[in-house]
Every structure is written in structure tokens, then in C-alpha cells.
Symmetry: C2
Subunit: 217 residues, 2 copies
Amino acid sequence: MAKSRNEVGASTYQRIKRDIIFGDLAPGSKLKLDGLRERYQASMSTLRETLNRLASEGFVDALDQRGFFVTPVSREDLIEIANLRVLLECHALRLSVASGDTDWEGNLVAAHHKLHLMEQKMLAGDDSKKEDWKRYDWEFHLALIEACGSKNLLSLHSVLYDKYLRYQMLVLTYRGEEAVKEHRKVFEAALARDIDTAAETLKTHIDKGLEHTLAAF
Amino acid sequence: MAKSRNEVGASTYQRIKRDIIFGDLAPGSKLKLDGLRERYQASMSTLRETLNRLASEGFVDALDQRGFFVTPVSREDLIEIANLRVLLECHALRLSVASGDTDWEGNLVAAHHKLHLMEQKMLAGDDSKKEDWKRYDWEFHLALIEACGSKNLLSLHSVLYDKYLRYQMLVLTYRGEEAVKEHRKVFEAALARDIDTAAETLKTHIDKGLEHTLAAF
DNA sequence: AACACAATAATATCTGATGTTTTTGAATCA
DNA sequence: TGATTCAAAAACATCAGATATTATTGTGTT
């Protein structure tokens, strides 16, 4: 009766995390263990392991003897997250552009191309594929910094990206044309190995995103 | 029979983390659940929750269907950790020095004083209180950046500090006189609100520590 | 409206059971 | 000897259920 192969644990983790990021589990809401048991078809043990992991990443708050809550959102937190993303992602981008090889370039071209296609659809009004867009945006930003040479840095960045993404998903509005241009500019500067322009444009990209998200918050 | 109040969970977490940082649980070693059950007097449920948390922080590796291992150490990882610490801690220091108030100053003076006393003992040959020294060093570095205004930044830094500390504990040797001087220089620059000097000295402090640790690795 | 207090619900922990996967160790074969 | 195979043993991931403790809720009283 007991499924193994870490199926339950891994999938529960991913689904809960996804539901938090996409707002299906509202910020601040209580995560009752019995409720989660039904919703995710997992046992209490597995759920508590998952929630502990998410708590340590900062997506869930664990209050002593009062259980688990989806981490609340706030303007200050959003600002902190965006600033940290600028700090880490720009730093990683500089390292990556400085030492990326041919494979890195190829992967980056592919990622930007796919993102660009998706952005055209979004601009044309197809708002249905938020989840796909998220994936392409993520893959592009990852491709930019992937050659930074620091697994630890990539891992920290990944968590920050997801936290930032939750705020973007909360406000629901797409920034559009402007963001597309910024993506292209970072992309071209990175390919041209123009480190300063790439890093500055990336900073602008994140800062503008922050403004946009803050305005709608 | 079942203790509650989150006593078991919290204490188990702290003890295992401490044992990893201080090398009582060797890098790469297997964390057998039955063994841990005896050693830490906790049930499998609690242990798995704890290990998941530590895995997500990077102190433990969770291998699918093969259990938990103390995260291995490597030169590359040490270098990455040190570089990230420089990036985050110097950034935080700049923010903190720029906006620290009187309480911040007072706390910093106290932290440096206590650290200095402990350093004198260490220099005099009393090598027995590594754990105390660790606490005072931590409190000093925390006091420096505590006014940075970003909880997220402080939280990321705390994990990095502990990871870096494990490497320091592994090589067992104290850098001595030189580190004491660097501490004092950062301290004085911070109090004088000389942001650039403070940040540069802190960078030197961490870089020198890295060299020292790498040499003995 | 504020308070006390019992009833209810939820949590943290532990034990023990089950099916799977990994590891071990011995026997076999090249 | 060294490599291979395969069954036994060990360890893991998951689940269900029990207990003690703590939080929440609702009701009645002042």
C-alpha cells in the first residue's frame, strides 16, 4: 500500500510549492494538516517533512505548536527580495558572461528564442499560459547566469526567483512590451560579452519589475 | 509519553546542526536513521523532519531512496561559500553602517568588546573554548550588519556563516593576531561610518580567512 | 462587553507495520 | 584471482493509529 521511490515526497513538495507561488494557497492562510492530507493525498509524516522543507526555504512559516502557515506577503518583503535578486543575479551574470563558453552561448540563444516566442503570444493577448511563460522566463534568466561557476550562488538565486515570482503572480498583470525589450537588451549584451551593459540592464529589468509589482500591490 | 511543545524537534535540529558544523558528524558520512534515533533520542518522524530541514539548508544531502548524508566538503565549495559571504556580508555592512542608529552602535561596541576578550584568551593559548569563540565571533559579525534593514539578507547570511564556519572548524587552527587586528579595523571603520574602509577590510578579513583555511585543507 | 471555563480541535511526538530499494555476502563462473 | 549473479539482510519511504499537550471555540455568567 505504501508507495515508495520518493514519489510521494517529491511530488507533494513540488505541488505545494507551486500552489503557494501561484497563489492557490493564499498568503497567510493556515495549512491544516488534515486539509492537506486530503488535498495532496499524502500522510501526515510526508506532509510534515514537506512543510519543514518549505519552511526552511521561506515559503511557509512554522509557528510553535500552532502549525504551518503560508508565508505572508508585504511590501517590505517584496522590496528586500527584489534587491537581493539584483545583488545576486547581477553578480552571477558578470561571472557568467566573463567565462561562458560556446555551450553556454548556444543554450542562451535557445532560451531567449523560446522566451521571445512566448512573449509574442502574451502580447497578442493569450494570457492563458502563465505557467508556460513562467518556465521560459525562468529558463532564460537561468541560462544567463548558468556559467557563473558557483552552484551555491545558483541555488540561492533559484529560491529568490521563486519568491519574487509569487509576488508577480499575485498582481496578475503582465508588464509587456517594455519587459520584452529589456530581455532582448540583456541577451544581446551578454552575447556581445559587454558585461557592464548586461548587468546594468538586468538591474533595470528587475527594478522596473519591482516598481510595476509594487504599484499593483 | 510523547513530549510536546516542539522541544524535541527544535533541540534535535540544533544538536545535529551543531554536530555537523563542529565536525562531530564527519563530512560525507551516512546518517542512518536508527543510529540517529539512539544518539539523539528522537523518533524517526522527528528525525526525518529535521533532516529535511537541514537538507534544504545545505548541511545534509538527501539521496533518493538512499537516505541522508552529511554534505561533503570540497575546496571549490569552500571558495564559493567564502565568495558569497563577501558578496552578502559586505553589501549588508554598507547598508548597516549607512543607517545604523545609536542602539546599533551600542550593541556593536559590546559585541566587539566581548569578542576581543575572548580573542585575548585564545591568543594566550586557551584553545578549549572554540564553541564560545564561535558565539562571540558570530555575534560580532551579526552586530555589524544587523542594521542593514533586510531580514531576508540576514537570514541568507546566517546560513552562509555557518557553512563557512564548518570549514574553519575542520582545519582547527586559529588565525590569531592578524584576525584580531582585522576585527578591530572593521569595528573602528564601522563606528566612524567609513563605509568603504569597513567593507574593504571585511572583504580582506574573509579573503584572508579563506586563504588560511584553504592552505590547511 | 469582558471574563472564566469546559468542550473541541489541532499539533507534536512516538510506535509499529508494509512494500520497495539498496547493500551485503556468499556461491558461482570465467 | 577477479568478476558476476542472486538471495538474504538492512535501510528507506510511506502510512495508520495512539497519546499527551496546547490552541481554539463557544457558552454561560457577571
